[in-house]
């Protein structure tokens, strides 16, 4: 396969865009695509202070790399979850995040959950039995809360995450299977800070395939944590991604089309605000100030025994 841009030897095919690209042009193409998404969905401007949530994985470190190369003011946030799982998972992902920051002269904020709250994520899951003892729902809740808290406390204009198109398509698929109106109404490249205590959030990689981000990290020489989170084994989201990849294999571009058609339909009014009644009833948590649909304390503060 030849590079569509220069005719040299391609190192990657991007079938959903009918492209083959050499290393040099691929490393130009990916940031270009991300820049277009940032502009199209009005995510943020060069004058904004951006906080990138990084996990040590390929997507978030690549996102940090790309935003920095594009000239944005972007610092990192690493949340240590206290997960070992026999592979030293949290320590290794923190090391790789810190290594990336040091190599690029970037600022990384670290929040250590066991140090701040006295318990690791698996310990909180065991104590509360939330998610029937599996730590994934506790992990998601704690990460969302802490990302939001730090973005607000440190005065950032926007929080960005490394969610790629496969992540978004898998969530969309899951929500569509259940016709979860509220979640469908809320899903999108930008979540506005339109409720008390909420930071503005954006997903600049939302149109990039997971495979494309892996290729970017490899070609750019970004060292990332390759081991899967030990608790992610058998996760439904991974199953949905595999299903969607089967579809993509038969119909290149199917995943992209699924997600972009959804965004178009949403813009056209398919998901009315009434589909998300929870959002209309949000109020600030009396303990941490973040928005919640629950009466009284938010889910995170209840989980932590009253205060965050």
């Amino acid at each position: 396969m030849k590079c569509t841009k220069c005719g040299g030897k391609a190192v990657i095919s991007v079938l959903q865009h009918h492209l083959g690209l050499c290393k040099e042009h691929y490393l130009e193409w990916v940031p270009g695509q991300v820049a277009r998404a940032i502009q199209k969905y009005r995510m943020f401007a060069k004058t904004d202070r951006i906080l990138a949530a990084v996990s040590g994985g390929k997507d978030s470190l690549s996102l940090w790399d790309i935003l920095h190369r594009l000239g944005y003011q972007v610092d990192g946030l690493y949340i240590c979850l206290g997960i070992d799982g026999g592979v030293n998972y949290s320590n290794e992902s923190q090391r790789l995040s810190q290594q990336f920051a040091a190599q690029h002269g970037l600022t990384l904020h670290v929040v250590d959950i066991p140090q701040v709250y006295g318990e690791s994520i698996p310990q909180i899951a065991s104590r509360t039995f939330r998610g029937r003892g599996a730590p994934c729902s506790v992990c998601g809740l704690a990460k969302r809360h802490e990302m939001n808290r730090l973005a607000r406390d440190l005065g950032y204009d926007v929080l960005v995450t490394g969610h790629n198109l496969d992540d978004e398509a898998a969530v969309l698929f899951s929500n569509t299977l259940r016709w979860a109106g509220g979640f469908l109404a809320r899903q999108g490249p930008v979540l506005e800070a339109d409720q008390p205590g909420l930071a503005r959030k954006a997903k600049p990689l939302c149109r990039m395939y997971e495979r494309d981000m892996t290729a970017y990290a490899l070609l750019r020489g970004i060292e990332y944590i390759y081991d899967e989170c030990p608790y992610a084994l058998g996760a439904t989201s991974i199953y949905y991604k595999e299903l969607l990849n089967k579809l993509e294999s038969d119909q290149p571009g199917a995943k992209l089309n699924f997600y972009l058609s959804f965004l178009q339909a949403k813009e056209g009014g398919l998901f009315a605000p009434q589909a998300d009644p929870d959002r209309a009833q949000m109020h600030p948590c009396p303990s941490c100030g973040q928005s919640t649909t629950a009466e009284g304390l938010c889910s995170f503060c209840r989980m932590m025994g009253g205060e965050s």
Binding site: K58, I238, K241, E248
Partner: protein, 68 residues
């Protein structure tokens, strides 16, 4: 006994062997791996699915799916 050296394909904890002469895409089909789920490398370099495999080639597959 075969008179050709097989192509070795290595992925997370598994190793496969296929005949040389076929394209990467067909080699992945033989071992039931979707090209969308992996990046294929040979000698540390990324290669595309139409690349023909030579006797003795060693491919390493980088899995792309993560999450939970």
């Amino acid at each position: 006994m075969t008179d050709w050296q097989p192509v070795k394909i290595i992925t997370r904890g598994k190793e496969y062997e296929v005949r040389p002469g076929m394209a990467v895409k067909h080699a992945l089909e033989k071992i039931n791996i979707l090209p969308e789920s992996v990046i294929v490398t040979r000698n540390g370099e990324l290669i595309t699915e139409d690349e023909l495999l030579a006797p003795g080639d060693v491919l390493k597959l980088v899995m792309v799916i993560s999450g939970g």
